[in-house]
Amino acid sequence: MAEVKDTATFRVKAGLAEMLKGGVIMDVVTAEQARIAEAAGAVAVMALERVPADIRAAGGVARMADPTKIEEIQGAVTIPVMAKARIGHFAEAQVLEALEVDYVDESEVLTPADESNHIDKWAFNVPFVCGATNLGEALRRIAEGAAMIRTKGEAGTGNVVEAVRHMRAIQGEVRRLGSLDPAELPSAAKALQAPLDLVRMVVEKRGLPVVNFSAGGIATPADAALMMQLGAEGVFVGSGIFKSEDPERTANAIVEATTHFDDPARVAGASRDLGAAMAGIEIAALGDDGLIQTRGW
């Protein structure tokens, strides 16, 4: 058969995010952790050199993971493997595409490589997920070609407060747009610093035109349930799993709570006897210079 196959269409890129919905994407730094994540029911893993909590602790410049590490993780699991490139670092993204990772996260968790421009994601066959703290930022990333959005939260803190702030910001702005007269949308687009066609799409869909997960600070099953009830379509858990006392049980529990997010009895069951969650950091203690979420333009 000689079918014409169209690869890398936006539908194909955004479609993989559709398949991840209702699931948990877990940060892993070794093949062994990737296997634990997969066995616990993760829908994908994020292959990293260090989890955000350790990036925070180590300081210095955080970069794309070593290709050998990414390949080890790809070899260990059959679920999708994502990896992070620095904001604006299209050469790192090219490397990740050459490695055939399933999604590139252009991530503020790594040290930005360009303080004005994000990667032109339309130029790639591999799909991209990007962070956002509000609707305008999300739509700018989509305009650049992102096929999936995640709210940023504050990575590596184990503190869900910023994840909540960003999800509420996006959902609130979506609701507000829905209340506007069509004649008011151009002005709204200008205020959001986002393209008008995408703003119209948000009004029509009553939501983002791509899948939106929550990230940055989710550490417990109840955190996951909270974000899902606030409108997340799935969650990224970074340090929250492998910095907890019992990663295997914590991973299973967060998966279960994400599926049954609207059933408190099930979330209660999943929350039982997990041991200590990751320690966590008060956001105010980070100071303005310690914030990761402000990276990205």
Binding site: M19, G22, I79, T259
Partner: protein
Amino acid sequence: MTIGVLALQGDFEAHADLLAALGADARAVRTPEELSDLDGLVLPGGESTTMTLGIERERLAGPLRELIRSGTPTLATCAGLIVLDRQHLGILDVTTRRNAFGRQVRSFETQIDLAGMPGGPLCAVFIRAPWVEEAGPGVEVLAEVDGHPVAVRQANVLAVAFHPELTEDTRLHRWLLDSVSAPRARTAA
């Protein structure tokens, strides 16, 4: 008419939206209790590993088998096809190969003809898709890509490796609803 959509994880909402647009009631299924009094069933796309673990955790395997084997019209897409194969629920007499077309950069869309489906070719979106490696005698192959079956039918079950729910084409969902309405001369898988 109530159609259950397995909602442990995956693109179950896309299926539910299509079914609702066709006038059916879609019910998200996460527990065995939610399988009662269903007229039809959809197993959506998603991650088959995650879905399989969820089926185990929720003790859904037995009730799902019973429902489908009793003749309930069933539509399965992508991960749903894998979940029904010999290695998983054992409903379809097929073996599947996961991620058969390769990683995400090789995912694609194409036009395919489905045997017995009027209305011309349909747009088929393949995302890290499986194919059918081997099929038993009771399995009818409806379409192939690269020489591998990507759409099969066995009695009351239609299973495809692609995602009609990500397109505007409602023919497969209509097939499901028509099968529910048809006189109950159905044979179980």
